[in-house]
């Protein structure tokens, strides 16, 4: 392998070669061959036109990855993943600007339609020439759509740049803002943090980059749609959000994926950096394909999300609604470094069918007077298993820090499982930590009350579940809150009777 990479002739060939391996059936894809080695990483780096330091960074991660083993402490079961049996690079082929939406690949449009993207934005996303001028600035949401690893388009960039906000695909940021990327990439989640972060660092192809300068309040909600489209492609996005002093940003991440038979791997890394008095709100709605009723197929979602409150009084808030994926392994965390900084975690995790979810958070209190709140609601139905796993750690310097944790689980049916695994570690006598958790089922009385007033059993359950999750849903930005409520209802379809 190493011999191969040292051969300059071959490297040259790799650089110039257009890739002819395999097309995904409906949409033309540019794909790297299966498997992972240093050549593939060089290839990715070349395709992304990255500078040398980035390649070195990736290779370092890859070498770390080779020495690591997948984590086995989560309460999830899945067959071993053959990491050599995946494509590590897949991008929709670049077409020179279609003239109107009619010329755009109808498959692509149909997917957008399912995602509920407004027509005008669809045109922009599909790269229709002149679409940007057409768009009335109706919905003030900026979208960076990640279509299998490559940001197809970034909308509203101009509006944002007027405010001084940088919002672009990370691949562009690497080229355009190397100093910022160099400074922050891997500073929250180091390459060797865990097996999947090492993998991600080595092969990530795209993701979003956000930089909010000092004192700026981002004029609109930033939003990204991640979808997984091609077969057997792992999606490895990398998101980096930096809010400088006194900056504020709200970032939405919505995830949907078309139905697929084979398990797909998704190992993303999200890094947030909040400086003094900054506030980052990161919301996720995730409803990837969970597999069919026999538990076949579905996405493996192994994500590392972490934010650090660098400055004093910084605040990071994670909100997530997790309804999809065959397996979810995800712990959005906060490192509370700055004095008086705040970490929040609001989560609803719904599992049905054969889904497995092991999700939670980590709150690491380092600075004085830091505060954290954890509110996790877990709903299990069908034959699924869901686990809340959370860590609250108070370090010696975290004088007068506070934490409050509430975890509630709701079980629907006797075939499912709900588990709570909190870790509480304190090395400080001035802190206060409270944790409470309950597990129960939907009360017969509530169900009877609703049904007696004419709701069907399913509607009644939907209503009760929405009430159960209300405390979390109200933390979502409004556009998402409605969607999330519907999602809950859909996810629980067929869970009763």
């Amino acid at each position: 392998m190493t011999k191969l990479t040292q051969d300059p002739a071959l490297l040259k060939q790799l650089e110039t070669n257009t890739y002819k391996w395999g097309f995904e059936t409906q949409i033309e894809m540019d794909m790297a061959p299966k498997g992972l080695n240093e050549d593939i990483i060089r290839l990715i780096s070349v395709r992304k036109e990255e500078p040398e330091w980035m390649l070195e960074w990736r290779l370092k991660a890859y070498r770390l990855w080779l020495t690591m083993t997948p984590p086995d402490w989560g309460k999830v079961n899945h067959p071993n993943i053959d990491f050599q049996d995946l494509h590590y690079y897949a991008a929709p082929k670049k077409k020179k600007g279609p003239k109107s939406l009619d010329e755009v690949d109808p498959e692509l449009l149909r997917t957008y339609e399912k995602l509920g993207i407004p027509l005008k934005e669809r045109a922009i996303l599909a790269g229709v020439e002149g679409a940007e001028e057409m768009s009335d600035v109706r919905a003030p949401i900026a979208i960076d759509a990640v279509f299998d690893s490559v940001s197809v388009a970034t909308t509203f960039r101009e509006t944002l740049s007027e405010a001084g906000v940088i919002f672009c695909p990370i691949s562009e940021a690497i080229k355009d803002y190397p100093e910022l990327v160099k400074k922050y990439l891997g500073s929250v989640v180091p390459q060797g943090d865990n097996f999947y972060t090492a993998l991600n660092s080595a092969v990530f192809t795209d993701g979003s980059f956000v930089y909010i300068p000092k004192g700026v309040r981002c004029p609109m909600e930033l939003s990204t749609y991640f979808r997984i489209n091609a077969k057997n492609t792992g999606q490895f996005e990398r998101t980096l959000i930096i809010a400088d002093d006194k900056a504020t940003v709200s970032y939405l991440e919505g995830c949907t994926a078309p139905q697929r038979d084979e398990n797909q791997l998704h190992a993303a890394v999200v890094e947030l950096v909040a400086m003094e008095d900054a506030f980052i709100k990161y919301s996720t709605v995730q409803n990837w394909y969970p597999g069919d009723k026999d538990g076949k197929g579905g996405i493996y979602n192994f994500v590392t999300k972490r934010g650090v409150c660098r400055g004093d009084r910084a605040r990071i808030s994670w909100t997530q609604v997790e309804t999809g994926s065959a397996i979810t392994w995800k712990y959005p965390s906060c490192i509370l470094q700055g004095e008086g900084s705040i970490g929040e975690f609001y989560s609803v995790a719904v599992t049905n069918g054969h889904q497995q979810a092991d999700t939670g958070t980590k709150m690491i209190h380092i600075g004085r007077n830091t505060r954290s709140t954890i509110l996790a609601k877990t709903i299990s139905a069908g034959k699924s298993d869901s686990t809340y796993r959370g860590l609250v750690r108070m370090l010696p310097r975290a004088k007068d820090a506070r934490n409050f944790t509430e975890c509630d689980s709701l079980l629907i049916g006797d075939q499912c499982g709900a588990h709570t695994v909190p870790y509480i570690e304190s090395q400080n006598s001035s802190v206060k930590i409270e944790h409470e958790a309950t597990t129960s089922k939907i009360s017969e009385e509530q169900l009877f009350y609703c049904q007696q007033r004419g709701l069907s059993q399913e509607e009644a359950i939907g209503l009760i579940v929405n009430g159960f999750c209300k405390d979390v849903l109200k933390e979502l930005p409004m556009e998402f809150a409605v969607e999330a409520q519907q999602l809950l209802q859909i996810s629980l379809e067929g869970s009763v009777g």
């Binding site: 006797d414 075939q415 709900a418 709570t420 400080n428 006598s429 409270e434 958790a437 597990t439 129960s440």
Partner: protein, 426 residues
């Protein structure tokens, strides 16, 4: 297999195992030795040993326990047992350095509880491979103490005293097995006291079977020498309508690890586990429990309190497992920690694993210092700081001690924890 017992250069686990290597062994014992030889000791990478480090094992040379002079035992008894009339009257069984001392034991004569001393029995604990502490006991154990309460009998209260005395030659270790069996509708209360001086390692494994409708109360005091190490595993099975109550105080020992495995196997049984860990200096104490609800209609309740001073380290890992069949389970778990010093550390992991839907399960954990408002309230009424603090700590513990049913145990434990006996004002 070569005989290592002459080799004085051996350290740690190997110096312990060399005491039995080359001798005649039963199949189970061989398995346990092989398991320990192959796997060694778990590190903190193992989830169940995340917060407790067994490294000390390999920093010591283990030796055979020495005989304890009767004079020493007598002195201890006079001071701690004979001084109290209630304790003096109880039938008692005394072990010193893992050996039964018949001269001072009295309960062979007057109890509805039958005692039998046997060679080590390899019981139904399942796989010793599952747990290193049990495996150690399997590998090293020589004797089983069997207590039996026949059907419909009231076994009364029994005092079980385990004294340990270390000497300079190395770390003496005691591995014995205690089996307690209560037949249908019987009753028994056991008070266990662990005490001693010097450096030693106690490693008992205890198996308790509570029969249908039987009632067992187990009050255990770990007040071993502050230089000693204590690793104890307890396996309990409960039949239908059985009742189990345990109270554990952990205040002695430099290092203590108490594992409790509770299997609720019969419907309508009830298990209650209360514990107080009161630690000072550099003490490390760990309580690890697994409560398995396997059938419907059972109830369990765990309540662990930590009071941590100086540089002490308290650990609680509790798990409630509810099997898919165990509908109508009612399980509760509470862990509270009071940190009295900035160097003290608490690690707690109260865990729920639930597969049945019609259940009521909850757990709670709190960590904090004494409430300043409460302190202020008392001080505003003229009570000096130190005394106000004491009153609050007292109140924190007293709540737990009130749960003890056995009046003799209650008085003893109150005294041990320094809880003042406050008469109910109402």
């Amino acid at each position: 297999m070569p005989n290592h017992s002459e080799d004085h250069n051996l350290k740690g686990l190997e110096s312990l195992l060399s005491q039995v290597r080359g001798k005649e062994m039963s199949a189970d014992q061989k398995n346990a030795v092989a398991f320990l030889t192959d796997n060694g000791l778990p590190t903190r990478r193992a989830e169940i040993w995340k917060y407790t480090d067994l490294r000390w094992v390999n920093q010591h040379v283990f030796t055979q326990p020495s005989q304890v002079k009767h004079k020493k035992i007598q002195t201890w008894l006079e001071k701690n047992i004979f001084a109290s009339e209630a304790l003096f009257k109880l039938p008692r069984l005394i072990l010193a350095n893992g050996q039964i001392i018949e001269e001072f034991s009295t309960f062979f004569h007057n109890s509805a509880c039958e005692l039998e001393l046997k060679d080590y029995v390899y019981g139904n604990l399942g796989q010793p491979q599952r747990d290193v502490i049990t495996a150690l006991n399997y590998a090293m154990g020589k004797q089983t103490i069997q207590l039996n309460v026949p059907k419909n009998q009231h076994g009364g209260t029994i005092l079980l005293i385990h004294l340990g005395y270390g000497d300079q030659s190395g770390l003496a270790s005691f591995h014995y097995r205690l089996n307690i069996e209560l037949q249908e509708q019987s009753q028994l209360s056991v008070i266990e006291m662990n005490a001693g001086s010097g450096e030693y390692f106690t490693n008992p494994v205890c198996e308790v079977k509570v029969g249908s409708g039987a009632n067992f109360e187990y009050n255990k005091l770990v007040n071993s020498s502050l230089e000693s190490f204590n690793c104890s595993n307890l396996y309990v099975t409960l039949a239908d309508h059985a009742k189990y109550r345990q109270f554990l105080i952990s205040k002695g020992a430099k290092f203590s690890r108490q594992e409790v495995y509770m299997d609720l196997q019969g419907e309508w049984c009830n298990a209650s586990f209360q514990a107080v860990q009161n630690l000072h200096d550099r003490q490390h104490a760990d309580i690890t429990t697994v409560f398995s609800h396997l059938v419907p209609h059972c109830q369990s309740d765990q309540n662990v309190k930590n009071i941590l001073s100086d540089q002490s380290h308290g650990v609680f890992q509790g798990k409630v497992f509810v099997h898919q069949k165990a509908q109508k389970t009612n399980a509760q778990q509470q862990n509270q920690a009071l940190l009295l010093s900035d160097q003290a550390e608490i690690n707690t992991k109260p865990e729920l694993e639930i597969y049945a839907d019609d259940v009521k399960c909850s757990h709670g954990a709190t960590v904090g210092a004494l409430d300043e408002d409460q302190l202020f309230f008392l001080m505003a009424r003229g009570i000096p700081y130190d005394q106000a603090r004491e009153i609050l700590i007292n109140a924190f513990v007293a709540q737990a001690v009130e749960e003890i049913h056995d009046p003799i145990a209650k008085d003893l434990f109150k005294e041990q924890l320094g809880v003042e006996v406050v008469e109910d004002i109402t």
